[in-house]
Amino acid sequence: MNAPSLLLDGLPVPFSDGQTIMEAATVAGIFIPHLCHHPEFKPQGSCKLCTVKANGRYVSACTMPAKDGMEVENNSPDLNDKRRTLLQMLFVEGNHFCPSCEKSGNCLLQALAYELEMLTPHFTQFYPDRPVDASHPEVLLDFNRCILCELCVRASRDVDRKNVFALSGRGIGKHLIVNAESGRLADTGFSLADKAAHVCPVGVILEKRQGFLQPIGCRRYDLQPIGMQVGRPPATGSSEQGS
């Protein structure tokens, strides 16, 4: 019996049972834009960047199981327009001033903005003013850049078994919190060695005193656009710096 396969933008892509569209595409070396998806974690389908059209319906590629004969549209102007709009909303909702952000060049959000040719933020900036949490001796939290992907929540809960992070509130008031009575990272069992210290795709969870030690221009997405790095887990914490 032939291996099952789907048609991704007209190309046959084989997959094995239980794989999502995202996983099948990744194995085939085809890039589907994503933010909350990470190959090491259970998909949660919240950011909607990976939206594709499967048999005519909009679905999340990171959660939708692949089906034999499925026709999937991915790299189309219509879908990329929608993705760009999602990115623009994320950009204005936080403070993402790339030129002076220490995550620049290693940031998934920035890399996608380049990939999807987002030229302006389009919407009015919110300019939130969220104080950073610098209480921990080794790690800084800059909440101004959180995109609520919950990767840190998943990593701390499922890998580190510490439950340091959680999302609180709903709708536009939804935000990341630290699970401590004081709300401060220093008052949790968090450590730089935790998985959760190295999964943030943007510049929220940062190893302290690293900043710009790794020169701009030599960073991961400075070297190669994200669309050509299919299969490599996203650049994450500062552990990746210098690689």
Binding site: S100, E102, V132, A134, S135, R209, G211, F212, P215, I216
Partner: protein, 502 residues
């Protein structure tokens, strides 16, 4: 202490009978400069003031941010000399991380970056922004009085200006990583060295750059020689001088101790450690200006104000360490005939000598193998407070920070060159207004005289006002009740294309 007061700073005639003229920027970007003149019925200037609305948002913004972000973040302050802020902040933070002696590779790379910045900024200031006034005349056709006009009338000068600036920018790109928002200097050192290939690439051009810089000095000297009265008198006022001076008394843009001289060149203070800047200088607040007026504390506000920038540095140092620039410095000093030169237009002469020195220093540095070394940073015992001083293209630049145990900035104080030069620029405006505007119909060309005077010190006031290379002024005629009775705009010197690409 009594408040300082200067002739023409405040009109003595009953202001009800005076006509107000305001030179106001056409576009306001966060901060701006404005000149107001009060004229009596005979058109005599009774009061002249330069108001600069300083953009102080950064000091507040950076509080609560991690210190390692500062050298990159602070570059948002100025579109013309971001690297000066980058380096002044890094120097202040060196002390925070206990790196008081940088490895030679780090120090030399920073010096190279800064020399590139001096070169590009001085070239921009002179060729793009000032040469149109100097070559065509202060009151010449405003439509032509810009770099495009220079390119048409003096193509070789324009070309050299553009290429000198580009070379400076290339040095910045290679040392800082980017032309804008570079990240090369980090607390305690730098984040990359130069490869031999990169040095060779720059060295291939350096002799040409030095040759053009020499020609630029000759050009300014010809301008002085052609009209000595204008060049020596225009807007001139005597004052003290302040700058840092390097080891052995040499001109040093990157590091040194503070030195001040009086208007006759006598030493007032010397070898003052930059950490004691707050004892050396104080700042006066005046009700009519948002920008403070710094002065030498020991002398007081009336007599203690000073000039910073090329003119001050050229006459504050004892020597320049590179031969071509040193020969030019001697000729410059000789021009003063034993007296300190205070003429604003001589800023350009000193500026071009500095550009030549920067070019020579770049050549020496590029031959130094330390630039390709591998020891990039040092560190030591942490401190809570750091002060960094640097000679930015337009003058002494002071960055002062306090950082908590949690690595967040708790206090930031910046004193930028424009602020140091506030009183000298005000004085220059008053002299020019009195000498050139009194009793005349106020035309665009005459009003441009005022801008020319300001531009000797500062091309656009941008590091104080955040106005990114624009200094367009508008003339407003108001009657005694403040009603606008006439309006006239000077040609907006829109540099956004020039400055925005730094």
């Amino acid at each position: 202490m009594a408040t300082a007061a200067f002739p023409l700073e405040t009109a003595t005639t009953d202001s009800g009978s005076l006509r107000r003229v305001a030179l106001d920027p056409l576009s306001r970007v966060e901060g701006h400069g404005k000149v107001t003149l009060l004229l009596d019925d005979a058109g005599q200037v009774q009061q002249a003031r330069l108001h600069i609305v300083e953009f102080r948002g950064f000091e507040k913004f950076i509080q609560g941010r991690p210190y390692w972000e500062v050298p990159v973040m602070v570059q948002r302050l100025c579109g013309i000399c971001p690297v000066s802020h980058h380096l002044a902040a890094a120097k202040a933070l060196d002390h925070i991380v206990g790196a008081d002696d940088l490895p030679p590779t780090a120090e030399k790379l920073r010096r190279l970056m800064h020399a590139g910045q001096i070169l590009q900024s001085h070239a921009l200031h002179f060729f793009h922004l000032s040469s149109p006034d100097l070559l065509f005349g202060f009151a010449s056709d405003a439509a032509r009085r810009n770099i495009v006009g220079i390119a048409a009338a003096h193509p070789e000068i324009a070309r050299q200006g553009v290429l000198l600036r580009r070379f400076g920018q290339e040095i910045i790109r290679l040392t800082a990583g980017r032309r804008v928002h570079g990240t090369g200097a980090v607390p305690g050192g730098v984040n990359r060295a130069l490869s031999r290939a990169e040095r060779a690439q720059l060295l291939a051009e350096i002799d040409q750059v030095i040759a053009w810089s020499r020609q630029a000095v000759q050009l300014v000297k010809r301008l002085h020689a052609a009209d000595p009265e204008l060049y020596d008198e225009f807007g001139t006022s005597r004052s003290n001088l302040l700058s840092i001076v390097g080891a052995g008394g040499v001109l040093d843009f990157y590091d040194g101790r503070l030195r001040a001289r009086d208007a006759d060149g006598r030493l007032l203070a010397d070898a003052v450690h930059v950490r004691n800047y707050a004892e050396l200088i104080s700042e006066e607040v005046k009700p009519w200006s948002y920008m403070k007026f710094p002065f030498l504390t020991a002398i007081g506000p009336q007599e203690g104000w000073y000039k910073v920038g090329p003119l001050a540095r050229m006459q504050n140092c004892d020597a320049i360490a590179t031969p071509l620039a040193e020969a030019e410095r001697r000729e410059f000093i000789a021009h003063g005939g034993g007296r300190v030169i205070h003429a604003p237009l001589a800023y350009h002469w000193a500026r071009m000598i500095e550009m030549l020195h920067a070019a020579e220093a770049i050549k020496d540095l590029l031959h130094d193998d330390d630039l390709s070394g591998s020891e990039l940073r040092s560190s030591g015992a942490r401190h809570h407070e750091g002060i960094g001083v640097i000679e930015a293209p337009r003058g002494t630049l002071i960055h002062h920070y306090r950082v908590g145990d949690d690595d967040l900035v708790t206090m930031c104080n910046l004193i930028v060159s424009t602020t140091h030069n506030n009183q000298p620029m005000n004085e220059a405006v008053r002299r020019v207004a009195q000498r050139h505007l009194n009793g005349h119909e106020l035309t665009e060309g005459l009003l441009n005289h005022i801008e020319v005077a300001i531009r000797c010190f500062d091309p656009c006031l941008s590091c104080a006002t955040h106005a990114l290379g624009k200094m367009p002024l508008q003339l407003e005629l108001q009657d005694a009740s403040g009603r606008v009775i006439g309006r006239q705009g000077s040609a907006p010197a829109d540099l956004s294309s020039a400055a925005g690409s730094t």
